[in-house]
């Protein structure tokens, strides 16, 4: 079986003055999905992502992305990195940013409109970024990151500082991308948000990575918003799913691998799925195991 290595870190080190931020890190991700890079503030999550994306140099080690060295600039044809909003040019419009990225990726202009509509920023696409709110900037960063339909997407704190509607949109985008086969590595310290998008966690502690797959240890729920709430409850109950309801949202306890079947059953009953969100619980407990209880 041929395994495509999405990310391969070998003996990676990064030191700032006397502080060893990344300490002989080895990591190999072979399967797609969403991976959360978790650790307290200041532990080096952003540094690690910056090293992986060759924004800052490592002191030693080898990094490969999709089987290609991260020093090869062409690797970014299939990779994106959502950084913080200081990378944006406040005197340019969102359109200017997207046009430039499309030009570099040799994508048609129509992709700008497409992606702007997808992230819900078409109404302010022509405004200067300096006039954007935090959420708007985050939308633009997402648009920039996904415009090239990346196979591997790094996201630095994508869920931080978002208002509820933006957070919902962001989760939807993450799950959409995951379904499309994009591997996402996102850094975050927001465990509740992580629980809603993935159960694959990489802890960063003392410069070392600890890879955890919580699939066997955590509960995965999907929240459905359906066009016919009552019928939806009936269909799911009849199909033997364990469900809970709250504010016209049906919370279904279903494993990842059974999700497609569940969706098909709902759709076969003539019910449209308006929204779908993932929730994984149990991160906090794991976090406390590794980092101790936070006050």
């Amino acid at each position: 079986m041929i395994i495509i290595t999405v990310l391969d870190l070998q003996q990676v080190n990064k030191k700032y003055k006397n502080q060893q931020v990344i300490n002989n890190v080895d990591l190999r991700l072979d399967k797609p999905g969403i991976w959360a890079l978790v650790g307290p503030n200041g532990v080096g999550k952003t540094t690690l992502l910056n090293c992986i994306c060759n924004i800052i140099p490592t002191n030693s080690g080898k990094i490969e992305l999709l089987g290609v060295s991260n020093k090869e600039y062409k690797v970014f044809q299939q990779i994106s990195y959502l950084q913080d909003n200081t990378v944006l040019f406040h005197y340019l419009t969102g359109y200017d940013h997207l046009k430039y990225v499309c030009d570099i990726h040799k994508l048609p202009k129509s992709r700008i409109k497409e992606v702007a509509e997808y992230v819900g920023m078409e109404s302010y696409l022509g405004k200067k970024v300096g006039d954007y709110s935090l959420g708007m900037k985050q939308h633009l960063l997402v648009a920039v990151a996904i415009v090239n339909k990346p196979k591997l997407l790094f996201m630095d704190e994508p869920l931080t500082g978002l208002d509820p509607s933006s957070a919902i949109l962001m989760r939807k985008i993450l799950l959409d991308l995951e379904r499309q086969g994009t591997t996402i590595i996102l850094s975050s310290h927001n465990l509740a948000e992580i629980d809603r998008v993935t159960n694959q966690i990489i802890f960063l502690k003392d410069g070392k990575l600890i890879e955890i797959d919580r699939t066997e240890h955590v509960e995965t729920h999907y929240h459905f918003k359906l066009s016919n709430y009552e019928l939806g409850i009936k269909v799911l109950n009849d199909s033997g799913y364990s469900i809970q309801t709250e504010d016209k949202v049906i919370k279904v306890d279903v494993k990842e691998e059974a999700l497609d079947q569940c969706i098909q059953q709902i759709q076969n009953s003539g019910i449209a799925i308006l929204d779908i969100q993932k929730e994984v619980s149990g991160s906090e407990k794991l976090y406390e195991e590794y980092f101790g209880k936070q006050d």
Binding site: D84, T86, D96, V101
Partner: protein, 427 residues
Amino acid sequence: MMKLFLFEWKKILKKKTTWVLLILSLTATIGIYFFHLSLANNVEQKVINHYDFLINLSLESAEDSRLAKEKAIKEEDEDLIEQATMEEEHYRTSVEKYQSAKKSYVDEEWEVLYQRELDSLETYAYPSQYENAVFIAEGGGEITNFTLRATFEERKYMLDHKIDPFIQNTIYDMYLRTAYEDFDSKTLEIWEEMTDRYGKQGIYYIYQLIQSLYIPIIILLGCFIFGNTLSSETTKKNNGIRFHQVLPLNQTKLFVAKYLTGYLGILLFFMLMIVAPLIVGTLMHGFGYLDYPVLIYDGYTTEDMWKNAMEDTFHFITLQEYLSKTVWFALAMSLLIYSLYYLVSQFSKEPIFNTIIIGVICFVGMQFQHPYNPFSYLDIDKVISHEIQLETWNTDITYITGIMIMLVIGFIFTVGNYIRFRSRRTN
């Protein structure tokens, strides 16, 4: 590459600060022109007033002589009558002479004035005996024979080619200031007042700007406005460089696009800062004369490298030739200053601080004149006119050496910039 380049330009053009600084710079340079113009007008008025003063003085003297003559007639004093008649006639002639000179000046009949100057200068510029080849200027200084000869030849050239002069604060000979005078205190003050020139026409004004270190100053100002294509994107508030770094972009091309954008910006700014006052000057008082003679020192005639005002020679080049040399020189200089600014800006992010640093480096560098010191060549006028060779007793400081040195050092700094840029990312 072109897309990168256009994006860099878009960023520059969409920055408000770029436009604010451009407008301020243009306003300043045009404002300086009008200030210069008002000084020129004042000087012109002073010259006319001086003529009026002399005319009135002569008229009064003539009237006094007439009254003296009337009195002498009553007293039947023949000697006094004859003396007073002669004096009156002399003053009447002076009145006519000054009125005629004033009319020529007001009507800009320069050929008449040039001829009069040539008649007056020839004796001093080319005396039969060297011992007599001095002229006592107002204030008591001696004008060197070199200056007298240069002034004479300049006037002769201007008469032959029908060229309008600069405005000068004198009704007598409009001396050309040269490097040969060595006046001090009060004499120097008078000499400078007499020989300060004011160009009202567009190209004359540009010539004067070049003499005032205008070109290195605007290149530095251009660096301040356009030379931050990299440094402005590597601050804590704006980390835009990282926007590019995660795109499939060749980093060398990114550097070239950023570097060239800044350099092109400076060149365009330079052109604008030259063309704007040129247009304003031309609209106000005409273009001027491209065949205006610019003095070039031929250097020392003595082996001990000492100025010999009697023997040292000179020649003139046209203003057109001077300006074309200046353009090539400015191109080399812009590369030198820009590459140095860019290098400094890769370590320090604050444009004002960087501009001051480069200004200080240039100023200090100018103090240590040496053929291999690129900053020795910042005063373009002194290099083209060879005045710098007289000042430093070094004939190796030449126009060609200057261009070569500035290009070579500019290229080295450019490579340094690239190495620094690459080392940030790949260590």
